[in-house]
Structure formats: C-alpha cells, structure tokens
C-alpha cells in the first residue's frame, strides 16, 4: 500500500477546509452552514492526527491524537449550541434562511 506524503496530505486537509469554506460562503440554510463548518473543522482534526503520526520528533506536551479527540468533543458542543439557535430562530422568525434574517445592517 502506498502512503500519502505530507504535501499530498496537506492537499487533502486543505481540500476539506476549502469545501467547508465554500459551503459557508454559498449556502443560505442555517443547517447547511452548520454542516459546512463541521467539514472545515474536520480538516483541522485530520491535520492533528496526521502530524501526530508523521511528526519528525516526539511531540512535546499533548499528543496530536488526544487533541483530535478533544476537538471532536468540542465540535459536538458547538453544533449543539448551533442547533439551539436554529430552533429559537425558527420559532421567532419562522425561517432558518440566513438571507432573510438581515434586520441589523449598515
């Protein structure tokens, strides 16, 4: 089996990030936005795992894997709060389309 070199790997994680950002910029639906953000976050998590595995020297302090685990947990919390806001917004304004929630401007 062939392993992915650092460049290729970075390309992968960057692609993930890019997809996430693209979604954030183009989607108007709050839930889709959440998903895009999650995709982007995963790019970071993936990086940690990879660098932990292929680090030139033994990492000092927390290991990449543990960071990855923590981040997964963090992502979950974040999404929970996000969904809460989605619900509240839906109840208050009857929409979760961010394009229709532009009362505050200029």
């Amino acid at each position: 089996m062939t392993t992915l070199g650092p460049t290729g790997f970075l390309a992968l994680s960057s692609a993930l990030l890019g997809i996430g950002l693209f979604g954030i910029l183009t989607r108007r639906n709050f839930v889709l936005l959440l998903i895009s953000i999650e995709i982007a976050t995963n790019a970071a998590i993936l990086n940690f795992v990879y660098f932990a595995a292929f680090a030139p020297s033994a990492p000092l302090g927390i290991s990449g894997q543990s960071i990855a685990v923590v981040l997964v947990g963090f992502a979950a919390t974040e999404v929970a709060v996000g969904l809460a806001i989605v619900l509240a917004l839906n109840r208050a304004k009857g929409t979760i389309n961010v394009a229709e929630v532009t009362e505050l401007k200029s």
């Binding site: 650092p6 994680s13 990030l17 996430g20 950002l21 954030i24 709050f30 936005l33 959440l34 953000i37 982007a40 976050t41 790019a43 970071a44 998590i45 990086n47 940690f48 990879y50 660098f51 932990a52 680090a55 030139p56 020297s57 033994a58 990492p59 000092l60 302090g61 927390i62 990449g64 960071i67 923590v70 981040l71 963090f74 919390t77 974040e78 709060v81 996000g82 809460a84 806001i85 509240a88 917004l89 208050a92 304004k93 961010v98 929630v101 532009t102 009362e103 505050l104 401007k105 200029s106």
Partner: protein
Amino acid sequence: MDALAMAAPFAPELVLLAAALLVFLLDVLGVRHLEALGAIGTAATGTSLLLVIADLGFGPLGALRTLGASHLDAVPAPGTAPLYAFSSFGLVFQGLFLLAAFLVSLASLSRPSHERGAAVFFGLLLLATLGMLLVAIASDLIFLLLAIELTSIASYILVGYTRRDPRSLEAAMKFYIIGALSSTLSFFGASLLFGAYGTTNLYAIRASAGAVGYPVLALLGFGFLLAGLAFKTTLVPFHAWAVDVYDGAPSDVSAFLAGGTKKIGVFAFFLVFLGPVLYLRGTGGANPFAGPPFDIGPVVQVTLAVVAVLTMTVGNVLALLQREMKRMLAYSSISQAGYILIGVTIGTAPALAGATLQVLAHVLMKSGAFLVVAAVAGLGVGPLIDDWRGLGARRPALSVAFALMLLSLAGVPLTVGFVSKFVLFSAAVQAQGLFVWLAVAGLLNSALSVFYYGRVLKAIFFDPATPTPAPSGAAMGAAGPPPLGAGGIGYARAAAIGLIAVAIVALGLYPQPVLGAIQSAATHFVAGGA
C-alpha cells in the same frame, strides 16, 4: 492537604465555577429571582476579583494571596510543557476580565426583576468569565483555544438569551456562524503550527527559536491563527459581525462583550504573537520559501501593523456617519482594538504596558457606555443619536458620566483614555523607527474620532430636546435622588456607572498605582514568562 495546595492557585476560577453551578442549581430548584441570582453573580465576580488582586500582591490584600509568589512568573523547566502557567501579566488581565464581569452583573441587578432568564444570564455570564480566566493562564495553544471557545459558546447563548427578541436572535445567529468559522480557522492554524513545530506548547514553540522546520507552514499557521483571533478582537476585516451583534444584543450583554470577552482576543494575541513570535528570529534572509532559518518576527510585525492601521481607520470612518448610538459605539470599539494592536505590534515592554492600560481604559469606557445606553433605553429614549437630544438638561448626572466616557474614548486629557493613549503612543515614539508612524496614525485617528464623539456631545448638551415617547412606568418608577441620576435607572446600575465615571477621572489624574503593576507585569512578560 496536597489537593488543596494544588487547588489554591485556582481560587478565583473555582469561585466562579461554584457560583455558576449554584445559579443553575437554584434555577432548577425554582429560585428565579433576578435579585438573588444577580447577587450571587456579583458577589462571585467581586470575590474572585479581590482574590486576583491579592495574588498580584497589592498592598494589604497581598496577605490573602492564594498563589505563592514563587509560582508567579516562574519559567517552567526546559523539556516540560505545562498546559497553564501563572504570569503576573495574565493575572492583570484576569483582573480586567473580572472587573468587566463585576460591573456588568452589578448593573444587571437593576434589570426589571420580572424579567425571565435571569439564571441563564448570570450563569452564562459566570461561565464565560471562567473561560476568560482560563485564557489568562493558558500556556498551551490548544488549552488557549478551548478556553476561548468556552467563553464564545457561553456568549453565543448570552446574546440570544431572551429567546423572544428577534433582533437579539439574529445577532446570536451571526455571532455564532462567524464565531464557529473563526474557531475552525484557529484550530486549523494550530494544527499547522503543530505540524511545523511538533508541539502546541507556547514555551516550546518559543524555545525553538528560529529553528522552525517549515517556515511556510509556520507562517500559514500564524496566518490562520491571526484570522481566528482577529474575530474575537474585531479587527478589520473580521469585524463585520461585531457591529450587528453589539447592536442586536441586550445592552448589558453588549457591555460584557465589548468590555470583556473581546479582551481575551487581545490577550491571546499577546500570548501567541508577542510571546513566541517576536523571538523567532533566525539569522537568514526574508524569503519564507528559502527554508530555515528565517525571520518570522518582523514579517508578522509588518502584517500586524497594517492590520492595526486598517482597523483604526475603518472603525473611525465608519463611526463618522453612524446614526444609531449602539452601532456608533460598536465602531468606536473596533477602532480602539486597532490602538491596542499597536501595542502588540511594537511588542516592547512600554508598548505592552500601554496596550494593557488601553485595555483597562476600554473596559471602563465601553462597558460603561453600553451600561448607560441600557439605562437610557430604560428611560424610553430611542436608539438613534438624535433621540438623545436634550438629555443633558433632563439627566445632568447621567449625561456628564456618559460625556466623561466619550471624552475618555476620544482621548481627552484628565481621563484614563488619555493616559492610556499617551503611554501607548509615547511607547511607539520611543520605539522610534517606523513605529513613530504608528503613533502618528493613531493620533490622527483619535483626532478623527473627535468628530463623532463631539457630535454625540453636541446632541446631548447643545441641541434642543426632541419630544421623546412617554417613558415606561417601570423606567420612571423609582424616584432616586436626582443629583445621582439614579431615579428610574436603578441604584445598582447608577452605582456601577458612577463607579466607572469616578475610575475614569481618578485614573486619568493619578494612574501610578495601576500603571506600576501593569508595567512590572509587562516587563516580566516580555522578559520571559510565557
């Protein structure tokens, strides 16, 4: 007791945690009186504020310090990578955060007591403050980012906690999306740095000096981090959310955001960019693609300088024509962030002290201003600046306090805002070289800012009053002693505002005590504490 000895340094954090839990517990138990919960919040923040001051070893309070002076500014042994460390600089910032939280919760005691969600408000306030305290002791990138996230998540909810007001919900939504995006960027940056340095520990990164394996990777990492943290610090162009959020959120929350949570971004900047980066000086050229060794420090400095000037200018220019009071304040607070960033850019001890003093000033001025806005809104005055016309005649005391805050924001002498700008800019001039131009830019900007602050003062004091809608009964209810201007805005709030006004003038006249502590802390920080 070993555990106790271990826990002692965390006394302030623990107090807050306990208070937060207590608030939620009471909420579950059905005790929902705003006064009661607010009292807990105020007491908790006040207590831990005192504890922090004690840890700094201030005068008599020094007796109750829970943190051994030996632990303060202790440089960890090489090879170890602690998650947290107690630096006097961090303690100073803890003090600032707690000050903001204390003022806000004190003022919030005067919120209409029938208001729902008091538990959420105070509980989350305490949690957010806890996160801020953790930020101030972090010495590991991940620890730092997680602490920031704790605060952020708490504040997302805080913004929208009234659950009925669509405006604040919209604000929460925007806050959340941009915040989540930024945190993602920060984490991505952290991951790249992890790749570049093989660690997320700030000591370690700093200790690795110029020997960075992949300068491009490192720079990319710092770039992502800069973007992520810039969101919290509301640097241009990462600022757009702040205006809407400060506008949409309940004024008290805005006060907390502008005066408090925003500052963790500042501290993070100090930690990440000032601590390690400025010392990452290789001997090689300026081409990041040429491989190590490579001067990261100056490159980052230039970038920060550009961002700082951009932030000041755009913030001020945007505030010029702003017709709504809260949005004007939001923009002005953006420009203030620019001033603070000057300190980060220069990175000398004087600049650091100046920036810190500026942070202190901003805590006072901005939270004070938003508290006044909340009070005035309680008096039935509209959101537009024009609605404030003639307030000077109707509410002299309140107006004078507000005027003091604005003048201080404008950096007019005899106010703390002047002293901070003075120290900051004089530090810039003292650093000489190109930094002088930062000072010039800052001064020109503060000259520009006089326009819109002056406009507000003009509206308040000179313009004839426009007929305002009859204030709600609750607002006019309590007839306080007119000279204090407490009537209708509640004594607690009046006390908080009065406190701020006095502090602004007192520190403007004789800043020496605070300044002394700040600059010793700053010197330690630059000298080597993380």
